[in-house]
Symmetry: C2
Subunit: 213 residues, 2 copies
Amino acid sequence: MIHSGKKHRRKDNKPIDTRQALFDAVLELMSRDKSFDAISLREVTREVGINPSAFYRHFPDMNSLGLELVNLSFKTLRQHLKDVRANPVQDANVVRESVETFVSYVLAHPRQFQFIIRAQVGGAASIRAEIESEHRLLVSELSTDLARRFDAASWSTEELQMLADLMIGAMTRIVEQLLIENRHSASQAALTELAEKQLQLILLGAMHWHDQP
Amino acid sequence: MIHSGKKHRRKDNKPIDTRQALFDAVLELMSRDKSFDAISLREVTREVGINPSAFYRHFPDMNSLGLELVNLSFKTLRQHLKDVRANPVQDANVVRESVETFVSYVLAHPRQFQFIIRAQVGGAASIRAEIESEHRLLVSELSTDLARRFDAASWSTEELQMLADLMIGAMTRIVEQLLIENRHSASQAALTELAEKQLQLILLGAMHWHDQP
DNA sequence: GTGTTAAGTGAACATATGTACACTATAATG
DNA sequence: CATTATAGTGTACATATGTTCACTTAACAC
């Protein structure tokens, strides 16, 4: 008999909690100086407090866990960016505002970003590919945003993507330093200011990009 | 008795070769979809073809091997950059020339760069710290270069470092895509052009950085 | 030559890993 | 209430790991 309806769920949603706990365990382990593919299945179940065999009730292997975690992380990130876009900054200093809210968001979800950043270059090809495609999505979204702010006629899609890629790249590196290097608030302020200046410089370049044909 | 002179070496320099072979083995293994801290000591010795115990004749543990590999990789990279600086580009199109020679260099030493990029976020804190300090060195060197090309009076050291960091960051991301994503020459050309445009845009921004006080 | 020292071997160990299988408990469904 | 599918347990096994120790080998210094 094939179940076409909903899956069975406990009253207290225990299975879902365990699933989430497995995600959390991976994030927790990675926040303790480990790359994703150096984390063993048994370590994860140990962290959660379940039997190693129980892992297979939720994922066929660690790689699948990783892939789902990528999607999950990007989904929340994309939702946040959507919210930010929904009420755009009125202030004259758009860059300052944007960078600051983004930095706060990163610092509020450090483990998710740490996971993404490490898995992006660290692990298996399938996971890297997934992150790469999510990254491209972000670039596209930003470039359509930028299209609205710049002279749409003179900027080609490729140029806009080049610009968006540069901006996201700069922010990615800021995030890396924010999370991996050191976490005292002194350097956080410095990094925020660094990000602001770098983005401002990029925008300045963009404003003069089509000065001489 | 303490040896103050040279160490004993075989006629055919075998010990040195083995040491190098251990480095090579790590690079080779990392080029096959693995982060540094997911590589076992036994894997490395297996790749070289020696007994696991023999590893300890050369390094106390994998971490030390990693640290030395970082230094080695950056030493050759820094030497290359020094050579490039020695005969500066005469051409009007400095950016194009610089990017193209750098991309060729990266493609000629893919495994070293792959190692650096992966170890930078992947592994143990000590290795990350070592890469971070080497990175800062590169930024400093570039910023003194830039000081010569820009109006030295109006640019502060911090601003120069901000600019250098942005440029190196952009190139780092290009290297990542060059090595990790895909390696067909079609995308290589596209990435080279992307790098050129991004650097040009950054320089454009830098030229107008002090327009309005 | 003889002795010394560095490099490499082979076997052994305690421990960790992924996965399989039979099992128990429990929540939802009929 | 009886059935059933899901989540989790316990055990087991083959395999992999880091590290140790006693050993062989071979190059160089004398």
